[in-house]
């Protein structure tokens, strides 16, 4: 493993933020750490970088224990959410910064910076300053700066979150292509589930400083390990209902059933439900339902949304997840 985190604990004063995390990132793997705000994603990244001290546990990079080493000795590169470009330096100088401060001859550093810039598609911006660049261009420069030193691990802290929706989609694809081309162990932090599903070779879902599940995007989507993961991934979130509730007979008694909104079918047959409201989102409609004393949401084609307040609900075959209601874990 290129990066390994074992029993990692981080505390801010008396408040423990990470509660003994175990995580590994293989060579050339892109692991996305996904979680809501305050889950400890950035803290994990900063602890790996050495910017936040750890209270317990170990961080190893290529079998070298770096837990007590200062950030500059860990051979990691970081892309910050704000990109952290130096406003007074040109693109070339920004990219070459890490090489220059490590006393590399200027000509060699400039040549390597140029090559890195070409790799990420900003070779034509070398003489410009950050103030003259667009958001996407700044992001490319930040990526080139991370690439230029050929580090053991790339740490990306929500690198797409400052971009507008259209550019984010474009850069997401470019980031994936770049990783496929360049490789390198990458720890990518985001709160955007789509970004995680699209980019990640594996995803680690973090909640309140603990890992809920680590798996491939398919595993996370099709077999969520907990109710938290089940509801965090997917929009609208997965419906959770007691097995003995309105949609009974789908799972053993005493369990919790999870049904994605797309797995609910509306029509003339099945359990009667009252339509509380409908949100049309382009081709889809999100239909918010009242099933007795429970709520649920169904995603149906907008053209097939119910015309009246009353409808009936059925579940597509094999689309039910079963959870233990006491632990929230997959049964």
């Amino acid at each position: 493993m290129t990066l390994s985190v074992t029993g990692l604990r981080v505390a801010h004063g008396a408040n423990e933020v990470l509660h003994g995390l175990d995580l590994t990132v293989a060579r050339d793997e892109l692991l996305v750490v996904l979680g809501p705000s305050g889950a400890g994603k950035s803290t994990l990244l900063r602890a790996v970088a050495g910017l936040t001290p750890v209270s317990a546990g170990r961080v190893t990079i290529r079998d070298r224990d770096v837990t007590r080493l200062r950030p500059g000795q860990r051979n990691v590169a970081m892309v910050f959410q704000s990109y952290a470009l130096f406003p007074h330096l040109t693109t070339a100088e920004n990219i070459a910064f890490g090489l220059i401060v490590r006393d590399m001859p200027k000509a060699e550093a400039t040549e390597r910076a140029r090559r890195a810039a070409v790799t990420v598609g900003c070779g034509h911006l070398l003489d410009r300053r950050p103030g003259q660049l667009s958001g996407g261009e700044r992001q490319r420069v930040a990526l080139a700066r991370a690439l230029v030193r050929e580090p053991d691990v790339f740490l990306l802290d929500e690198p797409l979150s400052n971009l507008d929706a259209e550019l984010r989609v474009e850069m997401r694809a470019e980031l994936k292509a770049l990783h496929a081309r360049v490789g390198g162990a990458t720890l990518h932090v985001t709160h955007d589930q789509v970004e995680a599903l699209v980019l990640g070779d594996r995803i680690a879902v973090l909640r309140e400083g603990r890992i809920e599940q680590v798996g491939t995007p398919d595993e996370i989507w099709h077999a969520p390990a907990t109710t938290f993961v089940a509801r965090f991934i997917g929009s609208p979130p997965m419906n959770l209902l007691p097995s003995g509730g309105p949609l009974s007979g789908l799972a053993p008694p005493g369990t919790l059933i999870g049904i994605r909104p797309g797995a609910l079918r509306l029509g003339d047959q099945g359990t009667p439900a009252r339509v509380e409201r409908i949100e049309v989102v382009g081709e889809d409609a999100h239909v918010y339902l009242r099933l007795g004393e429970h709520s649920a949401v169904a995603r149906v084609p907008a053209a097939e949304r119910p015309a009246s307040d009353e409808t009936h609900v059925t579940v597509r075959d094999g689309k039910v997840h079963v959870f233990d209601p006491s632990t929230g874990k997959r049964a």
Binding site: M78, A84, F86, F97, G98
Partner: protein, 310 residues
């Protein structure tokens, strides 16, 4: 209700019209009156008087450029000019360095930093005359604490190195040094401005520097200094302008322009003496004009150097 537009230009929402203009004019009036009465009119009077002979009793006599010709041959004026230039050349960079050092030292959160910041800023808030009187005691060659401290470890009134302690108030070089030393503690304003400038620098660039293994010197040279250079440049210009004025009260209260030969007579004190003690308002006005020209020249030179450097 129509939602307010974010980031809409101020002009589009700012009320206009004769009534608003009247209100704005009314609010601006006290400042405008003060500016005209206390700055522009005295400046115009000074410019006119620089070409006249005036003693407050007789009406002003037009003398053309006679005052400037006399200044050129006046040994005391040349000494005052030299003293002022030396003060500016030594005190201004030192004051900026100290303010910058304090700002970089005290920008972090740590125990006692709040107290230290207050201590650094406080001397600038002390009234100038009180500040001067305090230093008169501190610099006293016999019982002043500075020389007492310098005599620690020495014998027969000498320092530990066997030298005579500085004669702050009686030796010309020591007296010039004393006035500069006094000015080094009133850097509160520059310190606060630089502290604010340092605090608003984004922490990510420093974290990035740490990840890239930049040394403290690299961080200072390649990040901090270039990023606060505009503020430093502004303070350099401002302090140079002020340097012709801040030496006035210390020179008057602590050294009285001496010791001979006029070791701490600066342009400001020269002007004061000629105007208010010798009642030579025309001559003092001419010296003031020279001071103004020098200040403007220094500011233009610095500005050009800074622009070229950036």
């Amino acid at each position: 209700m129509k939602a307010p537009q974010e980031n809409a230009p101020l002009r589009s929402t700012f009320p206009r019209g004769p009534r608003v203009r009247r209100q704005l004019g009314f609010m601006l009036a006290p400042y405008a009156v003060g500016l005209v009465a206390l700055v522009l009119l005295p400046a115009a009077a000074t410019l006119v008087l620089a070409f006249a002979d005036y003693d407050l009793v007789q009406p002003p006599q037009w003398t053309g450029t006679e005052n400037f010709t006399e200044l050129a041959g006046d040994g005391i004026f040349r000494t005052a000019l030299f003293n002022s230039l030396v003060f500016a050349a030594v005190a201004v960079p030192l004051r900026l360095l100290i303010a910058l050092g304090l700002a970089l030292l005290l920008h972090r959160r740590a125990r006692g930093v709040g107290t230290a910041r207050t201590a650094a800023a406080l001397p600038a808030a002390v009234p100038e005359v009180a500040y001067g009187l305090l230093w008169l005691w501190l610099f006293n060659p016999l019982y002043g604490p500075i020389n007492q401290l310098l005599r620690v470890g020495g014998e027969n009134g000498l320092t530990a190195l066997g030298r005579t302690p500085p004669q702050w108030l009686t030796d010309p070089t020591d007296a010039r040094a004393a006035i500069i030393i006094m000015s080094l503690f009133t850097v509160g304003e520059s310190f606060l401005v630089l502290l604010a400038a340092r605090l608003v620098l984004p922490p990510e660039v420093y974290e990035l520097a740490a990840v890239e293994d930049a040394t403290g010197w690299d961080v200072f040279r390649r990040i901090t200094l270039p990023l606060i250079a505009p503020v430093l440049g502004l303070l350099l210009v401002r302090d140079t302008i002020l340097s012709f004025q801040v030496s006035f009260v210390p020179a008057l209260v602590v050294t009285d322009g001496g010791p001979p030969p006029y070791a701490t007579t600066y342009l400001s004190l020269f002007v004061y003496r000629n105007a208010f003690e010798y009642l030579r308002y025309g001559y003092a006005s001419a010296a003031t004009m020279v001071m103004l020209v020098l200040t403007v020249a220094a500011v233009i030179l610095q500005w050009r150097l800074l622009r070229r450097w950036r």
